[in-house]
């Protein structure tokens, strides 16, 4: 066994990527508050450090030193585990996403990805399925009717839109001919898949917003009817963990959108002989753009109603996604 290549490099990559994601999730909370504030002609956080840049740190310290409340009649083990499952699942999703090409670092050939597996795309869907357990378990163990209702809604919404994610990805697989995310990025060497799959991209974007319970589809945590849904009984660091899981999920989902539809770390047209690390910068820039889109949508669009949203999923999105798939296949078959 080659210890450097098979053990140390993957381990270092894992630690670095996890820490970057953690930081990204923490700063996404700051970014969203800041940008939302500007949309609403406010300043947003501006006390902790210049531009409030230390706000996530202050929030973290506060969450750690809060009293830990475990309410009566909760299922203790599951109640404590649930936020951890949510957070870990979000992190693990990133394990198959390539964020750069192979580069020479410190005299070693290092691929800028954590894992490179043949079925990367299915891995994304599989871990998304696991992630819904964090929410279901939290809602069930809380011993609170709002939590349980929120968890049920979350589960129903997530499974409905996971289907649509899957179907819109089928069209991508059909074009790229592979389930490996690095090959899908390579396929977008000249043009991002957005150009070939505009409708598929829209379907995917709506579905991924819904799957991660983001506004305007944040129905499992509506404040005015479910008092934050599955998170009602959580406080202190456990609440913070759910919260940061949601924001890290935004970062990871943006990375997924960028990888599958926006060309990943590749340049859009035909410029190819740039420094490989420039690709990482481009990847980050694209992710930031999609994140801005997320906040923009949240600031602009009011929340939809749950029953309407489920009907929209099954009566409109699902048939539409199938039409997109078959139309794509027909174009590939006859052109």
């Amino acid at each position: 066994m080659d210890w450097v290549a098979d053990f140390w490099i993957p381990l270092i990559k894992a630690v670095v990527v996890v820490l970057v994601l953690l930081l990204g999730g923490a700063y996404m909370t700051w970014g969203e508050r800041k940008i939302c504030a500007r949309f609403q002609v406010r300043y947003g956080p501006n006390r902790a450090g210049p531009f409030g840049i230390l706000q996530p740190l202050a929030d973290a310290v506060k969450a750690i030193f809060k009293e830990e409340i475990v309410p009566n009649h909760v299922d203790k083990i599951i109640y404590v585990m649930a936020p951890g499952i949510s957070f870990a699942a979000v992190l693990i999703t990133f394990a198959v996403i390539p964020f750069g090409p192979e580069v020479d670092l410190f005299g070693q050939r290092v691929g800028l990805w954590v894992g490179d597996i043949e079925v990367g795309l299915l891995f994304l869907l599989a871990i998304a399925a696991l992630g819904s357990y964090g929410i279901v378990l939290g809602g069930w163990s809380s011993n609170n009717k709002y939590s349980l209702l929120g968890a049920l809604r979350a589960a129903a919404q997530m499974i409905s839109y996971e289907l649509i994610l899957g179907i819109s990805l089928l069209a991508v697989v059909l074009l790229a001919g592979s389930l490996n995310l690095r090959e899908i990025v390579d396929f977008q060497g000249t043009w991002p898949l957005l150009v070939l799959q505009p409708l598929g991209f829209l379907i995917f974007l709506i579905a991924i917003l819904a799957e991660s319970n983001r506004s305007p589809f944040d129905l499992p945590e509506t404040e005015n009817e479910l008092v934050s849904g599955f998170m009602t009984e959580y406080g202190g660091i456990k609440f913070a963990l759910y919260f940061i899981a949601e924001y890290t999920a935004m970062v990871v989902n943006s990375a997924i959108v960028v990888t599958i539809f926006l060309g990943g770390w590749k340049w859009p047209a035909l410029i190819s002989d740039l420094h490989p690390l420039a690709g990482v910068g481009l990847f980050l820039a694209k992710v930031l753009f999609v994140l801005f889109l997320y906040v923009w949508i949240r600031a602009s669009i009011p929340r939809v109603r749950f029953d309407k949203f489920m009907r929209f999923s099954w009566k409109f999105m699902l048939p539409l996604a199938f039409v997109n798939l078959l139309a794509t296949a027909a174009v590939v078959a006859f052109l």
């Binding site: 475990v70 069930w140 609170n144 049920l152 899957g166 008092v227 963990l241 009566k315 798939l325």
Partner: protein
């Protein structure tokens, strides 16, 4: 190759350890002054009414069943999608998949007509 999954395993271990530390940390810090009101389930500041876990609409169950069936269908379609561009007569592959999809969409139409997609 199973070896391809080792980095993912490392990554998963790091992620799980980090989450576990975060979840278990408040046991060390923070005050512990529980009172009976603090530990009661939150119900908009009032005393909780009735059991917290009650039965829910059958609609959720129906959605879950629909989900399983379409999920299985998608799983069948993934290998088809991977190989589609290499199929010898592509129109044949298209026709086969179209029949496959349409049969299940027929089912969706049936549920739709029966009112199974309506929320009551």
């Amino acid at each position: 190759m199973p070896a391809d999954y080792l980095p993912i395993l490392f990554f998963a271990v790091v992620a799980v350890v980090l989450s576990a530390i975060a979840v278990l940390m408040p046991a060390l810090f923070g005050p512990k002054r529980p009172t009976s009101v603090k530990l009661a389930p939150y119900e908009s500041g009032k005393l909780p009414i009735g059991p917290a876990r009650r039965r829910f609409s059958i609609q959720y169950y129906l959605y879950a069943v629909l989900f399983i069936l379409f999920d299985v269908e998608i799983v069948f379609l993934f290998p088809w999608a991977v190989v589609f561009r290499d199929l010898a007569p592509r129109w044949l592959g298209l026709a086969e998949a179209a029949v496959f999809v349409l049969i299940l969409l027929l089912g969706l139409a049936y549920v739709w007509k029966k009112g199974g997609l309506e929320w009551e």
